[in-house]
């Protein structure tokens, strides 16, 4: 085979292969939508994290602003310590409220940040003071049953 045709075919092959990797990165993967070049870390303590996992998203107003990096159990306070990295482009006031929310009825859990009204902003390594735990279905059902039972007693 001619050397130039050979080069052409191999060149096409390599370009197509690299294009496939690019498609996987951009169209299939999340490189185009979520790209954290610079970030800072925040900590938060929760009574109960439910099904939160490392790499779960951190969202504010529904927009993904960061990811959970590590979850550890604090031996002193007996609470879960959640570390998250937040994109440098997004800043939050000091009195931001961190909740653990669920996407859909049985969807994955994520950390939701509700910004407060403080003038000062959270810096790297800061702790989000106000948190709300995950809703545990069993606790919800038992409190519902107790309140029902209490109603039944009151009627008698």
């Amino acid at each position: 085979m001619e050397r130039t045709t050979l080069d052409l075919w191999v060149g096409l092959f390599v370009v197509a292969g690299l294009a496939a990797i690019l498609v996987l990165a951009m169209k299939v993967g999340n490189l185009s939508t979520f790209n954290m070049s610079e970030s800072y870390t925040l900590q938060a303590e929760f009574d109960n994290i439910g099904g939160l996992k490392a790499r779960s998203p951190v969202k504010s107003a529904g927009v993904v602003v960061g990811r959970v990096t590590a979850i550890t159990f604090d031996n002193k306070s007996f609470r879960a310590q959640v570390s998250m990295v937040i994109d440098k482009r997004y800043q939050f006031p000091k009195d931001t409220f961190a909740k653990i929310l669920t996407a859909g009825l049985l969807g994955e859990q994520y950390v939701g940040l509700d910004p407060g009204g403080d003038e000062q902003i959270l810096k790297s390594g800061d702790i989000v003071a106000k948190t709300q735990s995950a809703v545990v279905l069993e606790n919800l059902i038992s409190s519902f049953l107790y309140s029902k039972a209490a109603e039944g007693d009151a009627k008698k």
């Binding site: 085979m1 050397r3 050979l6 080069d7 075919w9 191999v10 096409l12 092959f13 390599v14 197509a16 292969g17 690299l18 496939a20 990797i21 498609v23 996987l24 990165a25 169209k27 299939v28 993967g29 999340n30 490189l31 185009s32 939508t33 790499r55 998203p57």
Partner: protein, 264 residues
């Protein structure tokens, strides 16, 4: 009775010694290929020719199988997911299974049977027709001139083929899921994009296929180089290439998956 027992033990010993000897020879062969690979980059034309034979000519089988695997994933995934009312997750199912596992593994298996067997047969025949000895007589190093370019061509082609397999597979899943069955277009892509992570999923798939490329081409080259220079020997070596490299790919896949996704 004693004789037969001794013969059995001797047979076992013979197999073990043979196996160890072959393994040692394979390691030395692999090192020799790595040490003599300078020429395959200095005279890159040699490698380009081999990329054409093992990469470009494997394109058709890779693309067609990728498309069909993606389409089957779309059909089967939809059947199962719609029972739980979560057919919107079809995109992430198809993409994750292709990018993480099926793309690298199936592309490597196809590559082993399409290109690996051809490499073994070619080198085995070169040995049988004494072309390799002739090269040595002319003071041309056959490892640098024949083996190393084929090795690097395989290592370069494999990740590209696997990426194409995954990409066309996702397209096949899209064809069946969105165009044929009617899963929502936006949900298909957005769920996929939120589930597939570039570094953790796409890059790990690429790393996997690089490792498979090294394993499959090294096995194919070694089997060809080691084949007895007879018609029967070459045919046995070709069979062994396909069997050994398929098993190696599946075993390596388990190991790599354990390291990458469980973080052992």
């Amino acid at each position: 009775m004693l004789d037969r027992g001794l013969a059995a033990i001797r047979g076992t010993g013979h197999h073990v010694v043979n196996g160890v000897w072959r393994f040692g020879f394979a390691c030395r062969f692999f090192l020799a290929v790595l040490m003599h690979s300078g020429i395959s980059f200095r005279r890159f034309q040699l490698t380009i020719k081999e990329i054409y034979f093992s990469g470009v000519l494997s394109l058709i089988i890779i693309l067609v199988s990728g498309l069909f695997v993606g389409m089957v994933l779309g059909l089967q995934g939809y059947e199962t997911l719609q029972k739980y009312g979560s057919e919107a997750a079809l995109g992430s199912l198809v993409a994750l299974s292709l990018v993480r596992e099926l793309g690298p593994v199936l592309a490597a298996l196809l590559f082993a049977s399409r290109a690996g067997s051809a490499i073994t047969a070619e080198i085995g025949l070169m040995k049988a027709t004494e072309q390799i000895t002739a090269m040595e007589m002319m003071a041309v190093d056959p490892i640098a001139r024949v083996i190393a370019p084929r090795f690097w061509a395989g290592v370069i082609s494999m990740p590209l083929l696997a990426a194409m397999f995954s990409a066309i597979g996702v397209f096949g899943g899209y064809l069946v899921g969105v165009v044929m069955i009617g899963v929502d277009d936006g949900q298909f892509w957005s769920q996929m994009q939120s589930a597939v992570d570039f570094r953790l999923d796409v890059m790990n798939g690429v790393i996997k296929s690089c490792v498979f490329g090294v394993a499959v081409t090294a096995i194919a080259l070694f089997e060809g180089y080691d084949a007895p220079p007879t018609a029967e020997g070459v045919s046995h070596a070709t069979t062994r290439t396909v069997v050994t490299s398929s098993l190696a790919v599946l075993a390596l896949d388990f190991l790599l998956t354990a390291f990458m996704f469980r973080g052992i």
